[in-house]
Structure formats: structure tokens, C-alpha cells
């Protein structure tokens, strides 16, 4: 499996590359009043409306704009768009298109083995699925399922 990595405030996170539809420069975001502060707003990508999740805010950091840090966007595959291999691996995708706003995208790595280790016990982050190693480095895999459940579906805590 390949993982796509990105940076949020000097920390590198990863998601399976098969979940990525496209990487692009930040697009203008239409704010949606009254929604979860972790939701940046909506963007229009080639006619499709996607919801933008601000990853910095998800980790309790000031937004890119507030921090004066550049950002990039990752458009995730929808459930319908997942390729066979992804389905076989049991990867989760939401039905609607989601865009993640991250500080910057980083290289794509080949995983040494498909194992995702559980996160260390002391890590109490909600959106973390586990830790993988690639290219002699460790990366934290984000759990899209939990992210969607908490932020988009408004579920406080979801057990996997």
C-alpha cells in the first residue's frame, strides 16, 4: 500500500494514497455560517461542491490564515469513486467529496508491509488510527472514519 503524507504544524501525517483524488493549491472557500469551526467552508471543484475540513483546527491550532502559514488542499475520493483495490483493503470513504486543508503535501511512500500499528497508548487523539513505518520513518495515519463521524455527522465519540 502507498501512503500520501502531509504536514500540519511541523508534524507529518498520512492517509492511504488510494483515498486521494487530487492534490491542488488552495481554492477560494465559501464560508458557511454556524457550522463546526473545524469546517472551513465549501469549495467548488469542477462543478462539485466539497466541504473543506481545516486540519489545523482539528488539532486545536489556529487556522492557516491566522497563523500566516501557506496551505494546500487534498480532495478525497468519495465512496463511489473508490477503486477496487481500496475496497478490497476495506478503506473508508465518505459519500460526499471532502477536502482536507493541510499546511503542505509531502511525498508518497510505499509501506513496508500493510500493518497499521495501534497508536501509542499515551496518544489521546481522536482522529488517529495508528502508526505506520515507511522509508525508515513513522507516520501517523489519520482515521477518516472518525473524522467524518465527529465533524460531519456530529457524533461525539465513535467506536471503531
Amino acid at each position: 500500500m502507498q501512503i500520501s503524507t502531509f504536514k500540519i504544524d511541523d508534524e507529518t501525517f498520512a492517509i492511504p494514497a488510494l483515498l486521494v483524488e487530487e492534490f491542488f493549491r488552495p481554492l477560494p472557500v465559501t464560508k458557511v455560517p454556524g457550522c463546526d469551526p473545524r469546517i472551513d467552508g465549501l469549495v467548488n471543484i469542477r462543478g462539485r461542491t466539497s466541504v473543506v475540513v481545516d486540519m489545523r483546527r482539528c488539532f486545536g491550532l489556529p487556522s492557516n490564515e491566522e497563523a500566516g502559514v501557506n496551505s494546500e488542499m487534498i480532495l478525497l475520493e468519495t465512496e463511489a469513486g473508490l477503486v477496487e483495490e481500496a475496497k478490497k483493503l476495506g478503506l473508508y470513504a465518505y459519500e460526499e467529496p471532502i477536502v482536507l486543508r493541510v499546511d503542505s503535501t509531502s511525498p508518497i511512500y510505499n509501506l513496508e508491509g500493510d500493518d497499521i500499528h495501534p497508536p501509542p497508548a499515551h496518544v489521546a487523539q481522536n482522529f488517529i488510527e495508528g502508526v505506520v513505518s515507511a522509508d525508515n520513518m513513522y507516520f501517523t495515519i489519520l482515521s477518516m472514519k472518525r473524522l467524518v463521524a465527529e465533524i460531519l455527522n456530529g457524533e461525539a465519540e465513535v467506536s471503531s
Binding site: Q2, S4, L18, E22, F24, E72, E85, T105, P107, I108
Partner: protein, 803 residues
Amino acid sequence: MIAEVKQENKFSIFNSLITNDHREFYEKIINELIGISPICNQGKCTAAAISESPTEQEQITDLMTRVETFAEELQDGTKNLFDQFYLAKEDFCRSIYCTTAYIKINLIDRTLLERTCDVRWWAMESAFVECLEKTSKSSRSLDRLLNELGEYLDAAKAAFEVPTLETNWTMKDISKFVDDVMAFSKRKLDLMFRNHIFEEFKGKVEMLSEQLGKGKNQEATVKMLQKVIKNLTDVQEQVSIACSRLEDIRRSYTLYCDLVIATPDGIVVANANPEMRSNVLGSTVKSEAWHERATDGNSTLPYVIEMTHDSSIHQGNSLVFSSAVRSIETPSATPIGVLGAVFDLEDESRIILDDYMPQTEDHETQDGWYSFFTDCKGIIVGSSDGSIIATGEQAHLPRGHRKLKPGESTSSYANIEGQDSAIFSAKSDGYLDFPGLEWSSHLVVPTRDIFASESNFQITGISNEELMRSKLIPEINKDTYVKVQDDKQSIKLISLNGIVFASKLGKRGVALGPVFEQITETGDFATSKMEDLLREMAVGELRLNLKTLETFSKQAIDLIDRNLFERSAAIRWWASDQYFWKCLMEPTDENLIAAGNRLRDINSSYSMYRNLVLANRMGRIVAASTPELIPDIKDARVADHLWFTQATRSKSSCDYAVQDVGRTDLERGDRTSLIYSGAVRQNGSRNGEIVGVLGSLFDWVTESGKILKTCLPKDKNGKRIHGCVAFYANRDLEVIETTDGGLVPLHTIPDLPTEHRELKEGESTSGVLRMGDHVYIIGSSRSKGYREYQGLGWSAHILRPLF
């Protein structure tokens, strides 16, 4: 000597000025980028091989085309970047080196202006007027006396023709003595001005007188001889007084080779340099321009400056300042003589020309760097290296450098002595009311030094990102930096999307993997190289800016040192003025008034003094040029003032004392002063007993403020750059004058980096300074004094904000 090289306004990579490092650098980037095209073709072929779907094929082909277009753009970008890099460097060097050339000619102009004031002032010295008047009178009476003497002696000879009973003398015996004396009768000038000839003559006269005494009725002849001797002795006395005064001047102002007083007929009657005296006195300078123009009755010129070659008063090239000496009673009448001052141009040029030149470890100017002055005809009048660019010869300058207007500067590339060089020239525009001599200053810098690589230069105190954002970096570079960052991102995103795309093709996509990897690698390589180049540019920009600040801080300290040298010279000379010692030795009302008037006269000619004060031995002020400035002048006591006590401890009239900038009782309020002082000695003699002290209160605030302002950095259009600060600090690093009291307040000790605090004499340095929220670059120079003026351990600092 010099072959002009055509100047190109664009730097192609084939330009000979591009360094080998950069050429290699460029080749690498271009090679990599060229390599992109086959990779993309391979990608397109792979697309056809791995997918039957036209949509997928199109997607891949589209990606590849984007990459190709992008690589082409990058190639152009790289070319432009080099062009930009070299143009920026060229531009900056032009500005900094043209400024340096200008600073040099400006230093000369400033010193020449002082000389024009000197020579006008000295021409009014009463000792010279008296000397000229008396020698002229003596000369006329000598003509008559020597004539008459001839007759007397002829008569004496005749008288001796008849041997008398009393003596055994014959005409033959006496005629030898008479002839000996008569041999001098046509050598009036020698007798008047050549001491050894006069002494010889005196001997002969004595011998003749003795012989005549043995004859009869020769008393009248002997008396006549005595008259001649008396007259000549008087002349010698006057000459010696004048010479001694001239010598006083030369000892106070060390930048003159000699000073002379000449009659309107061009006979030199007095000079300052004792070593030259026997050659110069009595010689004629009538045909020399400096004399001719100064005595021209129709002329109202207050002074004359002439470049002379092999004058009778000085060998070799020299610059002579002259001014007419006029009778005190009838100042409007024809001049009674001329004062000529031979400025030590060679020495002064050497000091200025050697300055601002990079040195080797053995303190020699680096090879290939030359600095020289040319006159209005393009003749070299001073050179930092006479064996290569010889004075007196026509300078081989490119055309544009020969036709400069006053104050204008230019630069071009030329081959000088087989060395590819850049030559920077600036023409004098005079200084204040001194129009200048239409001279130009030229600086030759090896091209390799202008375009030398900056990549090894370590910057401290500032990060690359900060530097890139700073005001120092031209907008065009900032734009390029942003563009490169943008390109870098584009390549990354294209590759990432490609890889994601390939991974979704599963096994089929494996073949595309290496293509995208290669694209990522190449893109990263090219953009990071470009970033390196931009960083190098930024560092170069920073370095040149630092150097500029060093240059300006050095100019600031040099200008003040030179100014204060003049003050220290002036005080020594004035302290020997007869009005002052007469007044102190005999403080009659009349003498006190005369001394006061004299002080006022001086002060009105020299605007840079607040006040001039004369104190007696007890430390009481007896006269002042502007007494109303002093609070309680009647009770003013200066016996415990540093300037007074130090002057009273001086050993000879060559010494002066100085009290550093600070508060003084001689000024009202908080006004600070810099006080120079010289001991007034009995009868004005050089080692005489001290009878009082003359002090000059230099208008420090005004003068130093003026100088600091001229040393603030300017942009390309000559406008002062906003937010810059210049200040002087004393030995203890306390601020004594500043252009911005809000940022760098007076009397505080700014927290400067160690290298700036611990500068040695004559050294300069530069770096980054953080003050509160502000980041500055700073250039500092410490005083090295000027000639025998030691300096006061001060330093000059110039700050320029980065943001």
C-alpha cells in the same frame, strides 16, 4: 594601456563575466530540465501501453504535457535569473564604487576648501605685511647705498694711489679688498636673502674697513659700509621673523611642503621650510602662474590655486595656493606681495587614494585595484600605484569617463594593464563655495572581484527567510523567489497527482511510477538550485549593503577626523598670534580690546566655532569672540577645566589639548561643546613660558549633524533611504551626536554587537543589529585620526532598517 570593452546590457550565460561556478550551475540545471522531455515522451508511450481507456490515456498525456511546458518555462526562468543576478550585482557595484570614487574627490575638495580659507587668512598676518614693507624699503635704499658705495670705494682706491709717508700701502694692496667687497655689489638679492653670502660679505667688509682705517680721510667710506651692513641686518631680521611665522604655520598645519612670501616682482623673501630655505629665498617666481595671477592688479580673486610643475619653490608636481598680501593701511591698493602655500598634494592624495581599497595580509593594496585623480585635461595628478598609473601622464580612460559633468559619475568595463576591470569615475562638483578644480576621481576594480561568488559568505544574525523578506532585496528578486516557490509547488503537485493516479491503476500503473519519480527529482533539483542562486543573490545584496554602510561610516568618521584636524591645527597657530601674547603679558585696556577684536575677526572667518576664549594664567577669561554667549563672563573661571589644565601642561607650541564633547560652564543650558585649546606663550616663542590659554568652542552639534546627514545611505535616485540612523559615539560608546534621537538617543550607550564595540583604530565592520522589534544592518568605523591628529577614539555607526 586600456582597451575599452563594449558594454552589454544583458548577461547571456556566454558573457565572459559569468563565473565558472555559475556556468557549471547553469549547465546542470539546463541538462536536467532538457532531460524532462524524453521522460515525458516515455510517460506518454507508457500510457498507451498500460491503458486502453482513452480517458486514462488523455489524463496521463495531459499530465506529461504540463510537465514539459513547465520544464521549458523553468529553462527560461533560469536564464533570466542569471541575467537578473549579474545585473543586480553590476548595478550595486556601480552605485557603491561610484560613491567611493566620489567620496575621494569630495575629500580632496573639502581639504582644498580649507586651504583656500587658510591662505586668505594668513595673507593678512601682520608679520608678513611688515616683512614685505620693510624689505621693499630696504631694497630701495640698498640700491642707492650700493651705488654710492661704489663711488666711495672708487674714491678710496684713488686716495690710496698716492703712497703716503705714514703708510707703505699702495693702491694695489687696497684694491684687492675693495674688489672683494665690490664683487658683492651686483648681488643685492643674495646679500638680502642668503645668509651665508651676507656673512661672507660682512667678513670682507670688516677686512676692508680695517684697512681703510689705516688710511686717511676714509671715515665716510667706513660709515657707508656700516650703513649697508645695518640695512642688510635689518632685512635679515625681518626675514627671520617672517620665516619663523611661516614655520609656525607649517608646524601647525602639516599638510604644506612649504609656504613662501614673495614681493610683487616675484622675489621670495621668506619661506617656512628651513631645509629649502637656502635654495628658495631670493629666487624668482615672477613667471609662475600662482604669483602672476595673485598680483594681477585687475583681479579681485581672493585666492588662486595653480598646479605647478618644477616651480622654483618646489620640485615636481605641486598645488600652490596663493593670495595677495596687502598693506594694512591701504588694503585696496596694489598688492605689496604674495603669500604662496605649497600644498603637499602627493602625500594627501596618497592618504585618500589608499583608503577604501582592499588590502592583502601585508597591508598592501590588492593587485588590480587602482585609484587615481586626473585634472581637467585628463592628466594623472595622484595615483595609488605610481608604477602602473604614473602621475604626470595622460590617463587612458574610456571616452565617457573624460566628459563628465561636475558631480556626475559613470562606469564601464575596460582592460587595464592586461586585467579585465571595471572602472568607476566621479567628477568633482566642489564643496560649499569652493568650485573645485574640475578634477575627477577614478577607481579601478578587477571584474573578478565584482562578480566573485558569495556562496561561501556566512551570514549571522539573520535567517534566509528574513533576508528574503527584507527591504534590501529588490522587488524583482522577491518576485522571482515567490515564482520559484510557486514552480516548486506546481512540480510537486503534478508529480503527487501523477503518482496517486498511477497507484489507482494498480499493477498497470507501476510502469508510470519511475517517470513521476524522475519528474519530482528533476523539478526539486532545478527549483532548489534556483533557490540557492536567489539566496546567493540575497547574500550578495546583503554583503554589498553591509559594505556600503561600512563605507559610509568610514566616511563619517574620516570627515569628522579631518575637520577636527583642522581645528587642532588652527588652535595651535592662533595661540601664537601676537595679539594674544601681548594682551596676556601686558593686559592694558587697549591690548584687551585688540585681543577681543582679533578673536572676533577669526570667528567671523570661521563659522564652525561657537566661541573663542582667551584665558590668563590664573584661568580667568580675559577676552572672547562672542562674550554674550558665556553666562557670568566676569566671574567665569576655567582653571579647573580640562581644556585649560591640559593646555597649561603642554610642552611647546606644537601641542594642543582637547576636551571631549560635553557640558561646559562656558555655554548656557544643556548645550554640549567640543573644546580645543593651545597654550599662549611669552612673546609667541615656541617653547616660551605659558602666559595663558586660547580655547575654541567647536560648534559640535551643528557641524557633526551636518556630516552625519551626508553619510546617510541613499537609494539609486539619490533620495535618503527612510528609517536610517547615523550616530557618533565617544571612546566609552556613549552617543554624542545622532540623526535620530528617538531611536538612538543622545548620551545613551546602545547595545552594539561585540565586533562593533571592540573595533580597533581605523577598522570598519558591519553586521546585523536587533533593537527591540527592529532589525537593522549596521556599519561601524573607528577613528584612526588624520595625520598627527590622533582622534579621540570615537566611532561612527550607520544603521539601515531591514523591514
